[in-house]
């Protein structure tokens, strides 16, 4: 037996019969090698799957349409899927050993679960897009507010500008409040607190489960009714902060805990204080995870309706100042117009949902780009500096070369 290595780097056993002499080995090496195909999907597997799919469809149709007194699309699809799994199992059993069959059945289930998820997301976005396209396809939808739009105004008037501004400002303020608070609480729980961390953690966990209407009521009661602040974007952002902070805190604590203790030790061994260690080692190491924590919090905040409902008031006009006057946000806009009995208004609500999803997408991508810089990757300023230094060095080298040539 001898061990050779094929192009994929996987060791392959060949028997001595394959290599009778050294010269034979040499000629074999000179001929173009054929890469072994390992893994991948074979034709038998594809045809088994296809056969199971068609066979189960046919059987399902016969059961539903001819034999059984059932009807309805959901039942049909569910039965089709179960029959499909049964067919897969049966067809597999005649070809492969039981372990292989189980293995492939599990992978079929996993694949179909993934596909189902994709279908559901596509269906949601598609449904909203179709319902909202009537309003969203007109440019005025993004540039106007609803101040001059009545129930029977044409679709070419009115839009979500005021709600977009409101959503972004409220979310921005809430993020500004919730992220430092949340990360500070997470640092307290994982780095500082010791025994005192437990009650804080319990509280945070309880807050995660807080119904969002309660957050709205809290701000309504404390800030608006007791302190006498007007219902405004600022009050809404406070309510959103109450919702977002526990999410940010919990997610941030988890990722801070994942930072290896050896890094903290290394930092202390260099003579760092605890504060320096947290600021320069722990938080930078956890940064990609912290970005995820912030994104999770924002995702929670941007879609909240009920806290905003009680604290922001409602307006049809652009109000860019979150500290005075009512300010509407996208979820509130959707909630308000989708229940009106006019098809154009409902379409505007769906279009607003489309805008909301687009904003969320943009926010997430931005957060990933900002937070996802690879460790040690250079900022633009560092790159410029390195290029400048290199150019300066080259100039010196050139100059000396010229001077040497001249003296010669």
């Amino acid at each position: 037996m001898a061990t050779t290595t094929d192009q994929t780097g996987k060791p392959r056993m060949t028997t001595a019969l394959d290599l009778p002499t050294a010269t034979a080995t040499a000629t074999a090496a000179a001929a173009p090698e054929r890469r072994l195909r390992l893994g991948g999907v074979t034709r038998a597997e594809v045809s088994t799957l296809g056969g199971a799919l068609l066979g189960s469809l046919a059987l399902d149709w016969m059961l539903y349409e001819r034999l059984l007194p059932f009807s309805g699309a959901q039942g049909f699809l569910l039965c089709w899927y179960l029959l499909f799994l049964g067919f897969c199992y049966a067809l597999g059993s005649v070809q492969w050993d039981p372990q292989t069959v189980r293995e492939r059945l599990v992978s079929v289930v996993a694949w179909s679960a993934g596909l189902l998820l994709l279908v559901i997301i596509a269906e949601q976005i598609g449904y909203i897009a179709i319902r909202g396209w009537h309003a969203a396809s007109h440019g005025n939808f993004l540039t106007q507010d609803m101040d001059h739009t009545a129930a029977h105004s044409p679709i070419t008037s009115g839009g979500v500008l005021h709600a977009m501004i409101g959503s972004l400002e409220q979310l921005g303020l809430a993020t500004l409040f919730a992220v430092p608070l949340g990360i500070a609480a997470a640092v307290f729980m994982s780095e500082v607190g010791g025994r005192a961390a437990r009650p804080v953690r319990t509280m945070v966990e309880a807050m995660t489960a807080l119904p969002s209407i309660v957050a709205g009521l809290f701000v309504l009661g404390v800030v608006i009714l007791s302190l006498g602040l007007q219902a405004s974007g600022f009050a809404a952002s406070l309510a959103l902060t109450v919702m977002m902070m526990p999410i940010v805190t919990r997610a941030a604590e988890v990722v801070i805990r994942l930072v290896p203790g050896t890094l903290r030790e290394a930092s202390y061994a260099l003579g760092a204080s605890q504060w320096r260690t947290v600021w320069n080692v722990v938080l930078p190491t956890a940064r990609p995870g912290l970005v995820t924590a912030v994104v999770l919090g924002m995702a929670r905040g941007v879609g909240e309706t009920s806290p905003v409902l009680l604290t922001a008031g409602f307006t049809t006009r652009v109000n860019a100042n979150p500290f005075s006057g009512h300010q509407v946000s996208l979820p509130l806009y959707i909630w308000n117009y989708v229940k009106q009995p006019y098809p154009d208004m409902v379409s505007r609500a769906f279009a607003a949902a489309l805008v909301l999803m687009a904003i969320v997408l943009v926010l997430f991508v931005t957060a990933r780009v900002l937070g996802g810089r690879r460790p040690g990757a250079l900022s633009r300023r560092q790159r410029r500096r390195i290029a400048r230094d290199a150019a300066a060095r080259d100039a010196v080298v050139r100059e000396t070369a010229v001077r040497e040539a001249a003296t010669r």
Binding site: S267, L270, G271, P284
Partner: protein
């Protein structure tokens, strides 16, 4: 990348080397006593190796030297650790200041993953709150990497992540990082146990070059390594009902060729442990 560095340090003064001495150091984890009255002098500018079987308290002893021991919950200690004659456990002395003068390299390489190679080396300055100019920092990065024997391998990619290096390179990066804050003492806790033979050789060469510039204390399980790198040696031993203590300490050559205690002879000849 060429190595033209505009910054030149002020005329180097002859460095005064610091030695380390412990008197009657005992240590506990909770109620469990792990070290019993360890007294040892680690001569300035020399390499001292601490040897002994697993669980005999060598690493605990090492961590007591730069006040890392007290960070473990339930850890306690007694005795004195004298750096230049002053007790590092003196009331009012800040642990961070002690740790800056007594650096440490750990068993597993632990470069900061969020920093580039250069930032890793310079991290000690930032972490200790030392302000430096950019030129000074570049000079320091280069000299530290040279002293750790890593400069030639990484000089062209100082701004790539430190985590992308091989294990041996990472460990030398950690040594460079410790050297950058110019400690008087360098403690090494089995620095080669996670490395391949080639990397081990490089680290040992680095230790040999450090001799005479600073005081090195190294914990090792490898008898040959202790013989190769150290000038003096201390043999620790603990049995399961007694805490760890020093059985024998002295010049390495003597300990390995002519040990006074039969247990030392057994251990260095590989008859137990």
């Amino acid at each position: 990348m060429t190595t033209t560095v505009p910054y030149q340090p002020a005329a180097a003064e002859p460095e005064l080397l610091s030695g380390l001495e412990t008197r009657g150091v005992s240590a506990w984890f909770g109620a469990h006593k792990v070290l019993e009255r360890v007294s040892l002098t680690m001569a300035a500018g020399e390499v001292t190796a601490l040897i002994g079987p697993s669980g005999c308290g060598k690493s605990t002893y090492l961590r007591i030297l730069n006040r890392m021991h007290e960070m473990v919950r339930g850890a306690a200690l007694a005795g004195e650790v004298l750096l230049d004659g002053a007790d590092v456990y003196e009331a009012g002395r800040r642990p961070a200041e002690v740790r800056r003068r007594i650096g440490m390299v750990f068993q597993r390489p632990n470069p900061f993953p969020a920093m580039s190679i250069a930032d890793n080396v310079a991290s000690g300055l930032k972490l200790a709150g030392i302000k430096t100019s950019r030129d000074e920092r570049e000079y320091l990065v280069e000299t530290s990497l040279r002293r750790a024997g890593l400069w030639n391998e990484v000089s062209g990619r100082l701004h790539t992540p430190g985590g992308a290096l091989s294990g041996g390179q990472q460990q030398r990066l950690c040594i460079a990082r410790s050297l950058a804050v110019s400690p008087d003492i360098l403690l090494m806790d089995e620095p080669c146990s996670a490395l391949d033979p080639t990397s081990t050789r490089r680290v040992e060469e680095t230790i040999a070059e450090l001799r005479g510039r600073l005081t090195v204390v190294i914990v090792t399980h490898n008898m040959q390594q202790a013989q190769r790198v150290s000038q003096s040696c201390a043999f620790f031993l603990a049995t399961h009902d007694t805490p760890g203590r020093i059985v024998e300490a002295g010049p390495t050559a003597q300990l390995f060729t002519d040990p006074a205690d039969p247990r030392t002879a057994d251990y260095v000849n590989g008859r137990f442990g």
